[in-house]
Symmetry: C2
Subunit: 461 residues, 2 copies
Amino acid sequence: MLATRLKHQIEEKYWIVGERLPSIRVLCVTYGHSKNTVIKALHILESENVIEARARSGFYVSLQAANIAPTHQKIKFLRPIKVNVPEIFQDIMDRSAAFDILPNEPLAPPSSSLITLHRHINNAMRFQANKKAMYYDEPQGSLVLRNQLQDDYRHNGLSLSSEEYCITSGCQQSLFLALMVTCQPGDNVAVESPGFYGVLQLLQQLQLNAIEIPSSPTTGVDIDIFESALKKWNIKALVVTPAFATPTGATMPTEHKKNLISLANQYDIALIEDDIYADLGFMERPFPLKSLDTENRVILCSSFSKSLSRDIRVGWIIGGRWQKDIVKLKLVTSLANSQATQIGLASFLKNGHYKRHINQKRLILKQQRDQLITNIQRYWSNSVHFSIPNGGLALWIKLDSKINTQTLYYQALERKIILTPGSLFSVEDRFHNFIRLSFNHPSIGNRKNALKILSNLCVDR
Amino acid sequence: MLATRLKHQIEEKYWIVGERLPSIRVLCVTYGHSKNTVIKALHILESENVIEARARSGFYVSLQAANIAPTHQKIKFLRPIKVNVPEIFQDIMDRSAAFDILPNEPLAPPSSSLITLHRHINNAMRFQANKKAMYYDEPQGSLVLRNQLQDDYRHNGLSLSSEEYCITSGCQQSLFLALMVTCQPGDNVAVESPGFYGVLQLLQQLQLNAIEIPSSPTTGVDIDIFESALKKWNIKALVVTPAFATPTGATMPTEHKKNLISLANQYDIALIEDDIYADLGFMERPFPLKSLDTENRVILCSSFSKSLSRDIRVGWIIGGRWQKDIVKLKLVTSLANSQATQIGLASFLKNGHYKRHINQKRLILKQQRDQLITNIQRYWSNSVHFSIPNGGLALWIKLDSKINTQTLYYQALERKIILTPGSLFSVEDRFHNFIRLSFNHPSIGNRKNALKILSNLCVDR
C-alpha cells in the first residue's frame, strides 16, 4: 500500500520533517500509481498526522512524524539529596545560558521592537532625571509597571491587584526570594527531573535538599510520583515550570495543574511557579498555575529576559501569602530597581509594542524550531530521539546511550561549539546521554554547519 | 578680655556658625576697643579655631565652634543580640532612605553630568543591541567597567586586578553577598553603634546576631572595645564604614585602620568595608581600609548611588579571599546586570565626567552642610549637639534627653516632614533622643522652614 510505503520512508528519514513531498504528478510517476491512489494515500497520511497540507503549497512531512522519544527515565531512588553542583559545571552553566550553539557568530541587527524599547527607556531616563537620581525606587517596584503587569496577566486568567506584584531584577532573583522566604537550611524542596540547573544551584547556595520528581518531556512533573514523595518526606516547596519547561519544553495539562494545587493544599507546601517561558507558546499562552491557586500558596516568578531582552533586568514575583516577607527580603538584599527602565518598559507595554513583538517572535521561534529539527534529522538520522515542544527555546535530545555528553561538551568546545550536557539538569547521575539544543537562533550558515560537526563527533567516538 | 567675650557670644549663638563677624571698624565701635585690641582678639580666636579668616572677606564663625557633642554613649552590655527590627521601623526605613526632609518639594533640574551619563548609557544601549538582548552579562560584570573601577581605585591606594572586582546592583547587594559568604545562621557579627540600619536588617534576614561596638562620631568604631568583644565572643565579621559613616559622618584615623587589620588577622575574622560615602569627602577621599589589607580579608562594598545616581543600580564588591564564592552567589541569586548601563557608565568615567561631577558635588555638599548647621543653630539654639562631618550626607544630632524621636517622627510626618529617628541605628535601646538630618538638599525655602517647624515640635512637647 502506497501510504504504508511513504510512511516507512518518512520513518527512515528518506523524507525529513518539514520537507515538502513531491507533487502528486511526480508521485504518480515515481511510484507508478494513479492520481486517485496517490491522493487517497496522502489523505490517509494526513489523517494520521504524518504529513500536513499547506494551502497553495502542497504536502509536508509534519513534526508529529519526528523521533518523539520515550525520554522518561526511571529514578532509582526517590530521596532528598544534599545538592553539590560539581565545580566543573560552573563553566558550562556560565556559557550555556546563552542558548546559542555558536556564540561568536554574528547576529541579525536588532528588531524594531528593541529599538522602540530603548527609545521608551531613554525618554523615561530624561523625565524627572534628578528625582530618579536622588530617590530610590519604591521597595515593590514602580507602580506604573506593576499596574501594567497586572493588566496583562488579567488576559491570562490572573485577576490580582498591583499590590500583589513585586518587581525584581529577573526571574533568578525571583526564584531566590521565593526559596529564601519559604524554606530554611536543611529543608527538602521538590524539583522537576530533568529541571532547570539554576534552581539546583540555588538549592545548594541556600543549603536545601533536592528531591527529584521525574518529569515527562510532554506533560511535565509526574503528579503521582510527587504525591508518593509528599507521603514519604517532609517537603516545603515544589519548584515547577508548568509552561514550556526547560530543558524538555513540557507543558502541564490543566488537570495536572489542578491536582498539583490540591496536593499543595493538602500537604501545606509552597508551589514556586517559573513562568518565564509562557509567553513563548507557539499556539497559545498557557494559563499560569497561579490562576488556579485557591489558598494563595503559589508564588509566580518570571521576567522579560527570554521574551524581550536579557539586558533590561526586569523580572517580577507574585508572592501570595509570603508577599510581605518577599518585599522585605528584596529591599534588604538589593534595595531597589531602576525606575527609568521600569517606567520605559511600562510605556512600551502600554502602547502594544510588546504584544506585537511577542506575536512576531513566536512565529520566528516556531520556524527556527522546525529548522533545528530538520537539521537534526538530516545529520543524526535515526540515532537521536527528542520531544517536540510547542513553545520555549530548546529541544531536549536523547543521544545513543553510549555517548557521554559531558565529554562531548569539551570536544565540541574545542571547535567553539556550545551545547548543554544533560547531566546539568539533575543532581542524580542521570541524563548523561542527553543534550539541550536551543532554537533561539536560526540553524543556518555556520550554526547549521555546527550541527553537522556535532553529529560527526557523536559518530566518531 | 574681648576674645573671651566674643567666644562666649559665639557659644551662646549670638553669632552662629558660618556667620561673618562685623568688620574690625564696627567691632571697635561696638565694644569700645582700639583697632589693635580687636585685631589681637580676633587672632586669638582664630588660633583656637573658633573663627576663620577668609581672603578678602573677613572673619567667620568656624564650624569648630559648633555644638560638637559628646554623642558617645555607653553601651550597657557588650553582647550578641538576635536582631529583630520592629515592624514599625519598616515604614520609617523606606521613607528615610531618601535623605530628604521634604520629599514632595520640587528639585533642581538635573545636572549636566546626569544628562551626559544618560547620553553615554543611551549610546551603549544602541551599540550591539541584539547581542545584549540575547546574551546575559558575564557573572562578574562587564570587564570594561571593572577595568575602569580598578584604574580609579589605583589613585586611591588600591592596586588590584579587575578580576578581583565583581559588579553588583548596588552597595546593599554587595553587603548581602559579603555577609552571606562569610557567615552562617547563628553567627555573631560586630557592627558600629550607631550604625547603618540596612546592615541590621540584613543581619535579621540572614539570622545573624549583632554585637554593637560603640562608635565615636568623629573617629568611628572603638578599637579597644572591639578587641575586648573579640576576646569574649566568637565573631565572624565586622561591618564597618571607615569613611563618613552613616549616621555620624565619622572617619577612622589611619592608625585605627591599621589596628583593625591587625585584630582581624589575629582573630581570623572578615572585615566588611562599606565604602559608599568615601567619594563624598570635602577635603580628601580617605584611602580605603582595603588598601591596608595584608591577608585578603577585607571585603570592600560600594556603589554609585550616593555619589552619582540612585537609579543606575550599579555597585561593586571586592571579595578578597571570598571572591570566588561571592561571584557564584551573585550569579545564582541575581544572574546578571545590565550591560548597557555598565558600558555607558564606564565610558562616562573614562572621559573624566565623574571626576568633574564629584568635585562639584563635594563643594555643593559642603555648602549645604554649613547651611544646615546654620539653620539648626538658629532654630534650636543651644538645645542640640552634633558632630561636624567632613564628608557624607548627614548630621547626627542629639536632642534634649527628654525627647523621644520616634514620637517626633510621627508628629513631623503629619506635616509631611521626614526625619530619621536615632533608634533605627541600633538594636539595643539606644539613641532615642537622636535624629539624622541630611544635607543632600539645600536648606532653603520650604526645607528651611521645615527645620523651623521641627524645632518648634521639639519645644512644644
